[in-house]
Amino acid sequence: MKKIFLIILLQFIFIFCGEEKLKPKIDNSINSKEIPDQESRNAKITFTENGKLKAVLFSDIIKVLGNKNEKYLEGVTVDFYNEAEQKNSRLTSKKGRVDDLTQDMYAIENVVAKSDSGVTLTTEELIWRNKTKKIMTDKFVKIVSDKEIIEGYGFESDQSLRNYTIFDITYITNVEQ
């Protein structure tokens, strides 16, 4: 028994003396504070107000950063609902962010919002304010419908994209598509 233990010990000594010593790799890019507390895939978040459905968010990945009260999203789709709880517009973006305190949503990169009235909005960043139920951005915006193309910088709208304001506009109307 002692022999066996000795052989094993010698083998360990031999192995460790035959190779360089290895240290574990440290990823310096990761900020410990950014490390999510939770991570979900193919997630769904439902927003309601007074029990009424207002919006449903789908995301490929949701990272919850507890200490920042934020959620980071990738592969975002948000469906907005009207007073009758009928879906009246959809927003998609590459990335997104949800402020847990305000429940405001930020759609970032390749943002496309489509209303059931046939209006399509594209921009690089769009904010949905939960409190006002308004959509806004200060970035370049393009709105396309069957009769018009509106381009401008800065945008504010209700979530159905029916009543909105755009600044510094170029507007082509009566477009036959």
């Binding site: 009769k147 709208s157 029916r162 909105y164 109307t173």
Partner: protein, 454 residues
């Protein structure tokens, strides 16, 4: 066959594309508000708005567009431009499908040197026809036009003005109920209650229809035209010329002439005339009266004298009569100032009257002269003298005959007073006719006052 169908398909496609492009409107502005009001898509573009559709550009402070109707309300310093046309107003409407713009506020259309103002207006950008209403003012470098309604066809530069139309330039003014004016050909047609006033010679012409051709320097007035010319005489008194006829024509060239045709009545001082063709040459101060075929012989009255002849030429000098020439079938009949039925008569191939300071001083008669002349002795009638000759000369001083000369085989016969008295009507020349249809000066004065009121 397939090839043809392909070509037709391409052509139709191109046409559809062209049509759809034509309707497309581009708008630039500081901000845009999109709204859905009662099912209508409304776009409010605010601040430094520029709207373009094809060759049309509109700038304004604010535009409210109805997407479904493709129309827009334009507010604040609205300026619409198409080719050379610029329309300015404070508030207007633009209908994109029809390409029509309207305004119910003061509107100003500018096209090259022409300007058009009105209380409201409509401009069709396809047909390029403007319809303006309410206190319309149209002017260019030469002409100013006022009316209550005006249609302006830009491409052919045609103007149709109606209601209280007044056109004026530096020398003349035309009033009418309605008027059509072609700016390129400088042709004007006026209708109803025509009044033409010329500042140059103080002439006013009234009528029912006018055709004014400035390129050919001719104006035609139809519908019982009536001309008046108030002249200041050398003694600072006024005299008025009245001419009435069924048709008048004014030629404005080196020899400005007025031609009055058919049922012409003329009054000027002590001269009156009834005839069918008169030419009044203002520059050379000549009035020509000519007999027309199938029409009565021209008649001229001067105080108590009646003159008829195929052609009558009146020459004026500073508005006073200088000479009167009566050519062919001339006859002069003068009523005695005391005896109503005693007429001195003189006929011949031609009669020439010479005046001095408006008074007759000499009468010359040529060719087949016949005369009947009543004699007086110390203001008492003393028979009459019938004469014939080839040439006759009468000299007058202070309205009294001072000398009579007969030339070329003169023959005279005396008829004593006892055979003449009560038998005056038997002593007339073969061509003696007394005409009573004198133009009435009072009627003309009244007519002028009434027409001038309007």
């Amino acid at each position: 066959m397939k090839k043809n169908i392909l070509i037709i398909s391409i052509l139709i496609s191109l046409q559809i594309i062209a049509q759809s492009n034509q309707k497309q409107i581009t708008i630039i502005g500081d901000s845009l508000k999109g709204k859905l009001i009662e099912g209508e898509n409304i776009r409010e573009v605010i601040g430094n708005v520029i709207i373009t559709q094809d060759d049309v550009t509109i700038t304004c402070g604010k535009a409210i567009q109805n997407i479904n109707k493709n129309s827009a309300i334009l507010i604040g310093n609205v300026i619409l431009t198409q080719d050379s046309v610029v329309i300015k107003t404070e508030k207007g409407n633009y209908f994109g499908n029809e390409k029509i713009t309207t305004s119910d506020t003061l509107v100003h259309l500018e096209n090259k040197s022409t300007n058009l103002f009105a209380n409201s207006g409509k401009y069709d950008l396809n047909t390029k026809i403007a319809e303006f209403k309410g206190d319309v003012l149209f002017y260019d470098s030469v002409t100013t036009l006022h009316s209550q309604k005006l249609i302006y066809e830009k491409d052919i530069e045609k103007i149709i003005a109606t209601k209280n139309v007044e056109v004026s330039d530096s020398v003349s003014k035309i009033n009418s109920d309605s008027l059509i004016h072609f700016r390129i050909s400088k042709l004007t047609e006026g209708f109803g209650k025509i009044k033409i006033y010329s500042k140059e010679n103080n002439v006013t012409i009234f009528g029912n229809q006018l055709l004014d051709d400035k390129q050919n320097n001719i104006s035609k007035i139809f519908g019982n035209p009536f001309l008046t010319q108030i002249e200041t005489l050398s003694d600072s008194t006024y005299d008025t010329l009245y001419i009435q006829s069924k048709y008048m024509e004014a030629k404005r060239d080196n020899n400005s002439k007025l031609i009055a045709i058919d049922s012409v009545k003329i009054i000027r001082g002590d001269f009156l005339s009834n005839n069918d063709f008169t030419i009044y040459d203002q520059a050379s101060e000549e009035i020509t009266i000519l007999k027309q075929k199938e029409k009565p012989i021209p008649i001229l009255w001067y105080e108590k004298t009646q003159i008829t002849g195929d052609s009558i030429y009146i020459f004026l000098d500073s508005s006073k009569i200088k000479n009167v020439d009566i050519i062919n079938n001339a006859i002069m009949i003068s009523q005695d100032s005391v005896y109503q039925f005693r007429f001195n008569q003189m006929s011949g191939d031609s009669i020439y009257l010479k005046f001095s300071n408006g008074d007759l001083v000499q009468t010359n008669v040529y060719g087949n002269v016949l005369s009947i002349y009543y004699l007086f002795e110390e203001n008492e009638p003393n028979g009459l003298l019938k004469s014939s000759a080839e040439k006759y000369k009468i000299f007058i001083d202070e309205n009294k005959v001072t000398d009579v000369k007969l030339y070329g085989s003169p023959v005279s016969e005396y008829h004593p007073e006892n055979l003449v008295e009560g038998n005056e009507k038997a002593f007339t020349l073969p061509t003696f006719i007394l005409y009573e249809n004198k133009p009435d000066k009072k009627i003309f004065e009244k007519m002028f006052k009434e027409l001038n009121k309007n």
